[in-house]
């Protein structure tokens, strides 16, 4: 692939736990090209969420650098950071916790359009309808409280909110893990379609290699805060090189359908 959209260089982060220093991330380096999906897969406690939180500037790194769209992402602050955030949006595991529970769907989508001045005021209602339609919901959802939606519908709204600012990168942290399997498949399809249409790059984080594999061009395996393996999705799945990757491959539940 072509242009590097995001590059992470030797990122490290430690936490202290009862006097002990625990490395959550150690010298993590990664790149994502424009329009590419990089899957990050690892077990609980491997550092996946620390990585996404640093990337989203919710947590400060101890060392290392991140360049995003050619700028020093960790050096941005204040108004410049807020403006630039429009280009990097996120979808979390539990969308209800990520929304104001009293808000309507329309209000949730209106916020980013207003704050980032994506479209003029008189066109916002139309834009909201278009975003809803884009994620497979009808325009009349705008008047409904977020609370009244099912988990899958909420996650569609979360995706609509994330793409409202026309970002170049979406960070998805366990975005489908809480959904039922039938719903999960449709959300994954939606993500792939959006990427194809709009050329958005994705960082797709999950503990489930089968889900990561479904949507990723390349996969990075993280274990104990270190990237232990990176490669095209197929090679990581077919010929895992590290113990962590082999364990993840072996742990994917397989449908046993053969009759005795």
């Amino acid at each position: 692939m072509s242009d590097v959209l995001l590059s992470i260089d030797n990122l490290s982060k430690g936490f202290s736990s009862s006097g002990r220093r625990v490395a959550a991330l150690e010298n993590v380096s990664l790149t994502i090209a424009a329009g590419e999906t990089l899957g990050i897969v690892g077990a609980s406690g491997s550092g996946k969420s620390t990585l996404s939180r640093i990337l989203l500037r919710l947590l400060a790194a101890d060392a290392g650098a991140i360049r995003f769209e050619g700028e020093d992402w960790l050096a941005l602050s204040g108004a410049a950071l807020r403006r630039k955030r429009a280009q990097m949006q996120m979808v979390f595991q539990d969308p209800l916790a990520a929304f104001n529970p009293l808000a309507t769907v329309g209000a949730v989508l209106d916020d980013p359009l207003r704050i980032h001045e994506v479209v003029p005021r008189h066109r916002r209602t139309g834009e909201i309808a278009m975003l809803l339609e884009r994620v497979g919901l009808s325009a009349d959802y705008a008047g409904r409280p977020v609370r009244s939606l099912s988990g899958g519908q909420r996650q569609r709204v979360a995706i609509a909110r994330a793409i409202a600012t026309r970002p170049s990168l979406l960070v998805l942290d366990e975005a489908v893990s809480a959904l039922d399997v039938t719903v999960r498949g449709r959300i994954l399809e939606l993500l792939v379609e959006l990427q194809r249409e709009q050329g958005i790059a994705c960082l797709f984080i999950s503990h489930d290699l089968a889900v990561v594999r479904a949507v990723s061009h390349r996969i990075a395996v993280i274990d104990n805060g270190r990237i232990v393996e990176t490669g095209p999705a197929t090679s990581v799945v077919v010929a895992p090189q590290s113990d962590a990757a082999r364990a993840l491959v072996a742990a994917v539940p397989r449908l046993v359908t053969d009759p005795f």
Binding site: M1, S44, H207, A214, S216, H217, L248, R254, L255, P259
Partner: protein, 261 residues
């Protein structure tokens, strides 16, 4: 199949004045079998587990019959069945040591004194493959990882040698690697002790790897039940077929086209 352990006839549960959470379920559970209850959110699978364990809230209205021919009486919690919840962080008591909470069941139901009960607790921690059981005995739940806590919850659930083990989404909060270990552990324990296992899950593939029979629930109804191989290879209902088709593993073709590079 062997003797019937539990027999359910027209079992219904309603909360308040809403729609039925379980609607006229007819199902027999054979002694010593491993039965998976598979369903998505709102299917009634957890209500089913809670109805069997008599853990429904007071406002729940229960109809139909629940018979326990093998026991001859309603099952006593802890003694006749053990229950493993999804979140061991909230099912374990945060202010008791691991040793105390496992020993409690053994002391109460097996007539052991505390010393014997502690010895049994330590032995059980070994059986659930907990590293350094002697140290873990003195630990508190918050000092353990999610997977370790679930091992402790399993040890506590089997402490009084129950005949039935109910696992309600016991692996859903764990990552896939730990999930695979816990499923292997449960499978081994019920085989060794000849326990009946009720494995409640949203993941039909996970169940397909080790249970004897599968019962599929949807919208409070039992959709179909049968031996695992026949349900998986020739599902009777469209819904079961959809569940099977929605499963992704590493053999499923990826959704993205081959990398553009």
């Amino acid at each position: 199949m062997s003797d019937i352990f539990c027999s359910l006839r027209q079992l219904s549960v309603t909360y308040g004045h809403g729609a039925a959470a379980l609607d006229r379920i007819d199902l027999d559970i054979a002694a010593g079998e491993r039965l998976a209850i598979v369903g998505e959110s709102g299917s009634g699978k957890s209500t089913f587990a809670r109805a069997l364990a008599d853990l429904l809230p007071e406002r729940a209205k229960v109809g139909g019959e629940m018979l326990w021919p093998a026991l001859g009486h309603p099952p006593r919690p802890g003694r006749d069945f053990g229950f493993i919840f999804q979140d061991p962080g909230s099912s374990l008591n945060p202010v008791l040591t691991i040793g105390e909470q496992i020993a409690e069941g053994a002391r109460r139901h097996l007539g052991l004194n505390w010393k014997q009960a502690y010895a049994r607790a330590e032995e059980l921690l070994g059986r659930v493959r907990m590293p350094q059981p002697d140290k873990v005995m003195r630990a508190f739940p918050h000092q353990l990882s999610g997977g370790q806590r679930q091992r402790v919850a399993i040890a506590a659930a089997i402490a009084a040698k129950p005949q039935l083990l109910i696992a309600d989404e016991a692996t859903s909060a764990l990552d896939v690697v730990v999930q695979a270990e816990i499923v292997r552990l449960l499978d081994g324990l019920v085989r060794e002790d000849g326990m009946t296992l009720l494995f409640i899950t949203h993941d039909i593939a996970l169940a397909s790897g080790f249970v004897d029979r599968i019962a599929v629930f949807r919208d409070a109804r039992l959709v179909e039940a049968g031996p695992v191989r026949s349900v998986l290879s020739a599902p009777q209902s469209d819904y079961t077929a959809e569940l099977i088709a929605s499963h992704r593993d590493l053999r499923t073709p990826p959704l993205i086209a081959k990398a553009a590079s």
